[in-house]
Symmetry: D2
Subunit: 334 residues, 4 copies
Amino acid sequence: MVVVLKKNTDEAQVENLVNWLKSLNIDVHRSNGEYETVLGLVGDTSHVDIDLVSSLDIVDNVTRISEPYKSANRKFHPDDTVIDINGYKIGGGNFQYIAGPCSVESEEQICSIASDVKAAGANMLRGGAFKPRTSPYAFQGMRGDGLKLLEEAKKQTGMPIVTEIMDISHLDLFENVDVIQVGARNMQNFELLKELGHTDKPILLKRGLANTMQELLMSAEYIMAGGNEKVILCERGIRTFETYTRNTLDISAVPLLKEKTHLPVIVDPSHAAGIARLVRPLSLAAVAAGADGLMIEVHNDPAHALCDGPQALTPPQFAEVVKKAEAIRSAMCD
Amino acid sequence: MVVVLKKNTDEAQVENLVNWLKSLNIDVHRSNGEYETVLGLVGDTSHVDIDLVSSLDIVDNVTRISEPYKSANRKFHPDDTVIDINGYKIGGGNFQYIAGPCSVESEEQICSIASDVKAAGANMLRGGAFKPRTSPYAFQGMRGDGLKLLEEAKKQTGMPIVTEIMDISHLDLFENVDVIQVGARNMQNFELLKELGHTDKPILLKRGLANTMQELLMSAEYIMAGGNEKVILCERGIRTFETYTRNTLDISAVPLLKEKTHLPVIVDPSHAAGIARLVRPLSLAAVAAGADGLMIEVHNDPAHALCDGPQALTPPQFAEVVKKAEAIRSAMCD
Amino acid sequence: MVVVLKKNTDEAQVENLVNWLKSLNIDVHRSNGEYETVLGLVGDTSHVDIDLVSSLDIVDNVTRISEPYKSANRKFHPDDTVIDINGYKIGGGNFQYIAGPCSVESEEQICSIASDVKAAGANMLRGGAFKPRTSPYAFQGMRGDGLKLLEEAKKQTGMPIVTEIMDISHLDLFENVDVIQVGARNMQNFELLKELGHTDKPILLKRGLANTMQELLMSAEYIMAGGNEKVILCERGIRTFETYTRNTLDISAVPLLKEKTHLPVIVDPSHAAGIARLVRPLSLAAVAAGADGLMIEVHNDPAHALCDGPQALTPPQFAEVVKKAEAIRSAMCD
Amino acid sequence: MVVVLKKNTDEAQVENLVNWLKSLNIDVHRSNGEYETVLGLVGDTSHVDIDLVSSLDIVDNVTRISEPYKSANRKFHPDDTVIDINGYKIGGGNFQYIAGPCSVESEEQICSIASDVKAAGANMLRGGAFKPRTSPYAFQGMRGDGLKLLEEAKKQTGMPIVTEIMDISHLDLFENVDVIQVGARNMQNFELLKELGHTDKPILLKRGLANTMQELLMSAEYIMAGGNEKVILCERGIRTFETYTRNTLDISAVPLLKEKTHLPVIVDPSHAAGIARLVRPLSLAAVAAGADGLMIEVHNDPAHALCDGPQALTPPQFAEVVKKAEAIRSAMCD
């Protein structure tokens, strides 16, 4: 951390600051310049509140140089984390396809799609029971009943299930869920993250649509600080000025997150663009960029497309994506 | 709502769509062009799911023309909503100053600031008990104990208290709180919004840092759909590419929100820029733009500035802002 | 400037870097930490290329602490620059209203609006002769002929004229123009800026729609480095994710730019929002935030509104804005 | 184009509007609703000025449904455009690697890199002679002399050269340049685009860092409207709130632009992230997403890395990117 002091600051106040920092076990290196004085803070500065230091009258600005996250930091955990989900591994070279419908709608629907995506190459089933919707007048999901239908699909196909939680009070209902998803809108619901840190289930943490990679890693840190180190990060598009796509897939996040952290990083190409015909090129781009998995929306019944989002593939389209993605994975390993 | 169909679509499918829309009590006007066919949907389209219609194979794109919110919409409620908080009114020409520290730290601190800001012209006291912090290692607030100290400050000064809720499970603790604040990070925590819709307390709803004005109004709609119409909207800066300020205060949101909705609109200039010396010009700009109130961070003890954010004013600085703001309010009414 | 070196770097390479920096008359202060080594660079670092240093293998990251602009920097020129335009001053407490149509269309049109806005309180006339249009099929302005009509309006009313240049090759045509405007799209047309640095006319430099305040100041620096110190900065809205307004007026830019630089700062509320009914509240907000002037689009003939943008006021509406703006200016000075 | 009229508008004014539109050969279909009246405009609306219609008092809002570009539009030119550059084809399944240094610095440097990148698989040489730099104090390029050195490298290697133009007045110097590049900052320098529309050289048009895909296509339209249809589009990252990367590569732009237009689309991964170690994953992602080419910065002398940007690869690193990119191209064709 580098603290730049204002010109002509009171020396007694500077000494107070230096002494306080030393009491936190931080070494302070001072450089006096013509226009400003610079303090270099060396040591474990992850516990120093940057806003707090910035607020001091004598301080011009503060720059954090080392990352504020520790458990998620690859510097301290060089090896890839591999997460095992009922025998299916993700991370450390292991790649997984997670597929399924936007929302669970009926037993027939979810079981039929589950069997279709399994045949097409997916190992895990996704499906929304609790649905975060912008409008209070839109379908809010089947909620608890939807979770039961997912369990039924798991029983029939053997696929682990991945589904989103929206509130701490629903946690008991997620007992048979294999991976708990935290949606983009809840990425900074810190009370929820803390609670998930006390569970032992893998957490699929989606990047918020206006959150930086560092904030995503800090949210992972919230879960890990509670003791649960099984966090899978998911890039799903960020909000920009572009209007042709719903969000802008930040493909650079894949290699950059994998450099900064040891956690697995997957991509959700369905929500990133919000356009079904972009799912294929974005999926292949994610694989080529080094992602550890893909989470893709698939619907099974074109006649009922009304109930699916504009971003969903049919099972044959999904199978085609898996086939090309595998070809690229092979090409990259050669 | 305007639906543009793809070229050469199957007429049977178009008829299905039209019939389904008519079953929702929507009138459909059709225009056939050389390159595309356009359907104009007229009626109450707030219940039509735009994503759902977009997803149809025969649809090229959909544009919503009327606003998707009803209870919050000024079209249907032309008169300003006035919210009465223990006798202090906001909206409809009534202006309020809400002031206080970032976090509640001790009885002495909160009571002293409360009395200072009251003397300087504030009618309501703000102070954080539950604090949403990016880092799990940062101070998380005094939580329940902080709420008790706020109640003590209210007893001593008679000022209504405004403080943030972070999770549904804490709602019981907020019984003596006068205005419940929903923070920017929880603006789309829909489960929380629904629950607050069943209370009878005024809700101060902050705009999320990457949320559009329409999304803010939809979140207000979530609360209002539950029966609680006492919603105060708060602009507090949005996330942009600019780095000199923490966020970019969207000053246009003040007149535009007041045009779209009958709800009161206030501004938080402290969090918008994150720089104390910008609080005064941004406060005056907010008043000149037509805001119904200001929420400003004030700390009382420069020696303890360590415990305040870089965006807090001292009580004399706050008093100066109130004085100039009142002068501008008078100038505008003449 | 602070340079953070990577862990375990080759000492010989570090010495090379330090020696090279010293050869540029930079003092280098070194702090060795457990995880990284930090170099504090003190002196005139405005000539050090930050990208160049970042590119070194041994460097982890570089942070510029002092501003990269000198001529525009208030640190080195504490007093406000006052620019005199044919007797009308701007900056240092002097406020100007610049008004006129989007495009010059005819002698009658421009002379009539000029006389109307003068009566309403404007001292300078704006009007586009060269028009930057997104579409090649849209009206591109009257170009050279438009400049002649502006000169005629100036002759009739005595108002100095402000108009936009789009290419160096047109410079000769601007001989009788009083203030040359550089539009948002040309803010980083560096060849044009350099050329304008060799003229002696005041330059009104608009902020690019995705440019930071620092980039705006660097573009002013380009003009000033050529010898022309008469630069007026203009905030006119930045591009964000919000869709209700064409751009987001960055009101914080007014006080912040005035803190960073001694140059006058004005606001263009017409282009910021792109909505005529927001011009009044945004104008008043700009005045309250401390702007040195306003540039407002005014059209005179409602029957010909087809030829004006959706952001133009009528002369009576403009007169009302001037009246309220003056009331606020008085209120702020008391 | 869909025009929504305000409630209770004067019928005579509506008729005026309808008649004016019909005079432009536009068919107008009218739908009268309870809250608003909707006009559906059918025909060639590319010449209708959307701002102009929006400005009418009787108009609530206007939505353009068909694209405002014609020459660049795939709807009217379904087949891929293939551009031949001295025998090297790009577009329509033809892929090209363009490589070279950020700036031309000396004959030895440019000829050596040219020969290195040719050996590694590049067919075209890039190198900056005119350099757009944010700071007036930074190296501005060798300008005319740099162009001569590029011509020398072309003579020695036979590689066509691609280099950036910054001002119309330099056009004569570009006589021996094979592809003229328009940089991101000049994407909306409309006078320059018009002039390039009158040349017969291929134009490599980079997307501006805050420009939408539609604006990029409109800028291509400016060139094409002048008669030059040889335009290559280049995605190079857009400006967002993320700070870990210099820009955010908008990978979705590749498939989406190729859907909207028949022009070739290439990617510049070097400038997108501004980080050399991201060039490989982003290059592979671009290939997997369907790009028609890559433009990559390569420097040859690690000891002189000071003179290269942080985004440049060494020739062996570049060769490795080409090898993997070719493997992915094969995998995708199978």
